[in-house]
């Protein structure tokens, strides 16, 4: 019994602060919904020549079809209807759209991680690469992706590449950067003594890479992967915006804004946020397990 209360207390210790902030956010959200949607409700009442009481006003602001800001429970209801109540193969299912975005995210993330690691190895082992490539790696991230994404989609479409790959390409573009920068730092993490030690054993560069540099870089890699996967998701959604609103969470956002379906926009947004949080949490879990097994958890 005491161990169970202790466990509960531990969970509360972790979840308490997060839940508190969540409660505050929900309260702010509700208050904002009332404030923002009140004008429309009053307008409607004026045209019907009635005067709303305060409680009527509040209940109206939370049940409009196309509110300026939908209330949290409206979004939750919409998410429930479009996930649980719809078949996953339906084009109105958020799970179906979510999967389309997720698959592009994961593919782009895999490409981006591979590219980032390759660049990092090149930068760490070759001064020429360090001097020539590194500035371009940084410059690449100063280009607004929102402006470039439609061009990438259109150009790739013109040469016959469509569907998953163009979106994955944009995800890769956003996710290779944190991995490259993190891995450069990680591969340079071994101190002079450890490198000297390898030298006393006449180890080759390849040997010190596999036995020393790569294992030493793991904490840096995981920190980068967490940023990289969130960036990948943003990339995939941005990549879906100019595709003529066919499929994916990005398409849901765009379609929602075309038709003023604010509830649909917000439910797609919340789903994207939940997806991103789950992906980051998943990598965090793998990180914890790996670093614990490597004795590197500080």
């Amino acid at each position: 019994m005491t161990s169970r209360t202790a466990a509960l207390r531990r969970i509360w210790h972790r979840a308490g602060p997060i839940l508190t902030i969540l409660a505050v956010l929900l309260a702010v959200w509700y208050a904002s919904a009332v404030a923002l949607n009140a004008a429309w409700a009053k307008d409607k009442a004026k045209r019907a020549d009635t005067v709303l009481t305060f409680s009527e006003l509040v209940s109206d602001t939370m049940s409009q079809d196309k509110p300026l800001l939908p209330a949290p429970h409206q979004v939750a209801e919409e998410i429930y209807k479009t996930t649980v109540l719809k078949k996953v193969t339906s084009k109105r299912s958020l799970i179906w759209h979510g999967w389309i975005t997720l698959s592009a995210t994961l593919l782009g993330f895999a490409f981006g991680t591979a590219l980032g690691m390759l660049l990092a190895v090149g930068i760490v082992y070759s001064r020429a690469t360090d001097m020539s490539v590194m500035p371009w790696v940084i410059t690449s991230q100063t280009i607004p992706i929102l402006a470039v994404a439609p061009m990438i989609i259109v150009v790739l479409n013109a040469v016959g590449v469509s569907g998953l790959l163009p979106k994955a390409f944009i995800s890769m573009y956003l996710s290779f950067f944190p991995v490259a920068v993190g891995m450069v730092k990680g591969l340079r993490a071994p101190d002079q003594m450890q490198l000297d030690q390898m030298r006393t054993w006449s180890a080759t560069k390849a040997t010190s890479f596999w036995k020393l540099r790569l294992p030493s870089s793991m904490p840096y890699l995981f920190a980068s992967l967490k940023i990289g996967i969130a960036a990948s998701l943003v990339g995939a959604i941005v990549g879906e915006l100019p595709t003529g609103a066919v499929a994916g969470l990005g398409a849901r956002l765009l379609a929602g804004s075309y038709y003023g379906q604010t509830i649909q926009i917000w439910s797609a947004l919340i789903c994207a946020a939940i997806l991103a949080a789950s992906l980051v949490a998943l990598i965090g879990l793998i990180e914890k397990i790996t670093l614990k097994r490597m004795g590197m958890l500080s």
Partner: protein, 259 residues
């Protein structure tokens, strides 16, 4: 017993810095014979560590010559002529103690059964038998340093170079490790180069004490110890020990170590 395994002739090393050249080593002449236990002592900046690093081909001298086992230092390094123990144990946290000792053996291409045999042997040598499967964080600082010595011994180099290996440990642990190191030296008949800044440690361990002084880094005195090779901690109470320690101190004073 008098062939020189390490021989330095007019060895110099100058670092070019923004404030002008720094003479880390200047005209060093020294022979280290097979089976010797040689300590290098002096204030910081006297070049004792730099000298050891020259033997290990971790620094490249700018003048003179140094030979190790009759070869250049670089060739000796490639032939894995020495084991090097650094100030910090530098064990990899993701490898067990056994795994850490196996590391140089893997790099040098020993086969699996030979690796296991050697790991068991050297762990016994440093009195860490039974700790093979433990991780570094499960061991005390002194035990970690013993494991790092085991790692340097594992591939059976004739020469052991040690750069202040016990510098970060407390005196009680240090005394114990010094005694163990002497036993290990007696059993393995290795030639040992040992950098320290502790006078009692240098006198207790060495057959030859090289006193160095800074600016430029040079040898102030070479003291051949008259103590028997087989010694215990009690010897530190003897008059002979005090006399040698006194001479080391004189050498340090002559080299302006106390200025």
């Amino acid at each position: 017993m008098s062939e020189a395994v390490i021989s330095a002739k007019d060895l110099s090393l100058t670092f070019e810095t923004n404030d002008g050249p720094v003479h880390a080593l200047k005209d060093i002449n020294l022979d280290i014979n097979k089976g010797d236990f040689v300590s290098f002592i002096g204030p910081s900046g006297c070049g004792k560590t730099t000298f050891l690093r020259c033997m290990a081909d971790l620094e490249t001298p700018t003048g003179g010559t140094i030979t190790v086992n009759g070869m250049s230092a670089a060739e000796a390094r490639m032939k894995r002529a020495y084991g090097y123990v650094f100030q910090a144990a530098g064990l990899y946290p993701w490898r067990t103690i056994g795994g850490n000792i196996r590391l140089p053996l893997e790099i040098m291409g020993f086969n699996k059964s030979e690796q296991s045999k050697r790991v068991t042997d050297v762990l016994e040598l440093v009195e860490l038998a039974g700790f093979e499967k433990k991780f570094p964080w499960q061991l005390s600082g002194g035990m970690q340093q013993r494991a790092s010595i085991a790692r340097a011994l594992a591939f059976d180099a004739d020469i052991l170079l040690m750069d202040e290996p016990f510098g970060a440990l407390d005196e009680i642990v240090r005394d114990h490790l010094n005694e163990q190191l002497l036993q290990l030296w007696a059993r393995t008949e290795k030639t040992i180069g040992f950098v320290t800044h502790s006078i009692p440690e240098a006198v207790f361990l060495s057959t030859k004490i090289v006193v160095m002084s800074p600016r430029p880094g040079r040898i102030a005195d070479v003291i051949e110890s008259t103590l028997p090779r087989d010694r215990t901690l009690d010897i530190r109470e003897s008059q002979e020990f005090a006399d040698i320690a006194h001479r080391v101190r004189e050498g340090l004073r002559a080299g302006h170590a106390y200025d």
